[in-house]
Amino acid sequence: MDDRSTDSDPVTAGESSILDTLGEDVIRIVSPVSLCMLLVVLLVSSLSSTNDLSSSISSLFLSSTTPTSFSSLNLLLLGSDSTWEEIKSALITALSFVVVVTLLTFLLVLLFYFRCTSFLRIYMGISSLFVLSFLGGFISLLLISHFKIPIDPLTFAILLFNLSVVGVFAVFMSKFPISMNQGYLVAIGVLTAYWFTMLPEWTTWALLIAMSLYDLAAVLLPVGPLRLLVELAMSRNEEIPALVYEARPVDPQLGDRVRVWRETTDVSIEATENSTNSANVQTVQETRLAVSEEITAPLIEAFPQTGDRHLGTEEEEDGIGLGSSGAIKLGLGDFIFYSVLVGRAAMYDYMTVYACYLAIMAGLGVTLLLLAVYRKALPALPVSIMLGVVFYLLTRVLLEVFVVQCSSNLLMF
């Protein structure tokens, strides 16, 4: 211990290396995602089967097969026709959803191109007010009815009104406590994700896979709407009006949250002699200079991206990038779809919840790694959702049988 302290003192006197802040940065993005998933799992499990709060929380740890698993088993056994019908309708629903989302994202790109940002912000304010008040009120009414909470209409109305209006302010005003901004973004994610889990089972899975494929195409293809949006925002030095979760930067430097690329343009004016002609290399050099001088943010210079989600009633950003103050940014659509996957897994059994949670976290880690390697805007959905779906199927088909057999023979678990 003594050697370490004497060795580190001259080296790390004024600076810290990236490794000091890397774990903290990752934790600051993993915690809200985990919190969102936990809340959705709690909501799903408390509102679907059992009747009181204590038993639903205790079953979270006991991991026994719930009655719902038997009903889905019956469905599989009873009629393959009905399953085939379900699959067909699920595919049609998912496809139409993806088409609607593509059209709306192109509309968003068009509006952003014509600089209608105030219209976009008003629209997003209205949609988050809708989510917080109507959806929030609906879900809290479900909770009140389920747990028989003796609240009166006046108190309920006052609380709902206050929480939703302050929520809209928190998400859109920049001069608001960061913790409340982050908390309300997680709340919007939880509410929307719970609403999505109310869809039928095959539809949810088809939707998840379709959205991850769409995300992959929209961000990486040169004609994809999200990529166009990001390039537009980059070229204009503007921020896209969207719902994005920005993790608090670990090492806050001076003053306000200054935009990364505005600083890079200043740096590039001085440093253009050494750069080559291609614009790509220039931007990479500029941002690398900015990163090394200004901000000890670990991974990436990347850019926020947007994606239209939730049947066009709101816009959230999808994908992962680096915020203006050097913190990691993750779009709210990613929060929502991760939580939908875990919530749907919770409707089967808690074993699938644990498996899918680990799969999603692994996928998120892989995405962050790819972000560090490729240094451009990346879709955060595909890797996690594909891993989650694979793990869900494997757990349901293989692991559950194994665990149940072991437990019933008092061998393990």
Partner: protein
């Protein structure tokens, strides 16, 4: 700027200790008006924000008063000193009045809610069953439309 002086003195080996520079300096004066510290607003913007939160709170939004107190907590807990910004006193008056308003409102609302919940039927009579939220929601079909 002054916030960064705190950093080298903190433990370098554990990055967690260097989380955020403290908003309140040891002598009792504040460097940053908001609870976010260097990531938050400047003193001029803080005064505008405090005033806006205070006046919007009158629109049946006492939660904004609570947000006002939370956001400008460093101003609330420290005293004015000769080295603090000229906006300090004005921000502090808005925040103190917001906290008084929120406390009054909170006490009233809690009292009413507890009376309703604990009093129940033997205080309100059969009307309680009609007024309580879960029965009202069933009667008005509020949960059936989504």
């Amino acid at each position: 700027m002054e916030g960064r002086d705190d950093q080298p003195t903190a433990d370098v080996e554990s990055g967690a200790a260097r989380l955020r520079p403290s908003a309140v300096r040891s002598r009792g004066a504040v460097t940053w008006p908001s609870v976010d510290g260097p990531l938050g607003v400047s003193w001029e913007e803080a005064e505008t924000s405090a005033r806006r939160f205070f006046f919007w709170g009158f629109a049946f939004l006492p939660l904004l008063w609570a947000v006002n107190c939370f956001y400008f907590w460093p101003v609330l807990v420290s005293k004015a000193s000769p080295s603090s910004s000229p906006h300090f006193n004005r921000i502090r008056s808005y925040v103190v009045w917001s906290s008084i308003g929120f406390l009054i409102f909170g006490v009233l609302l809690t009292a009413w809610a507890l009376t309703f919940a604990i009093g129940g039927e033997h205080l309100f009579g059969p009307m309680w069953k009609d007024l309580v939220m879960y029965n009202l929601a069933d009667k008005l079909q509020l949960t059936g439309w989504m």
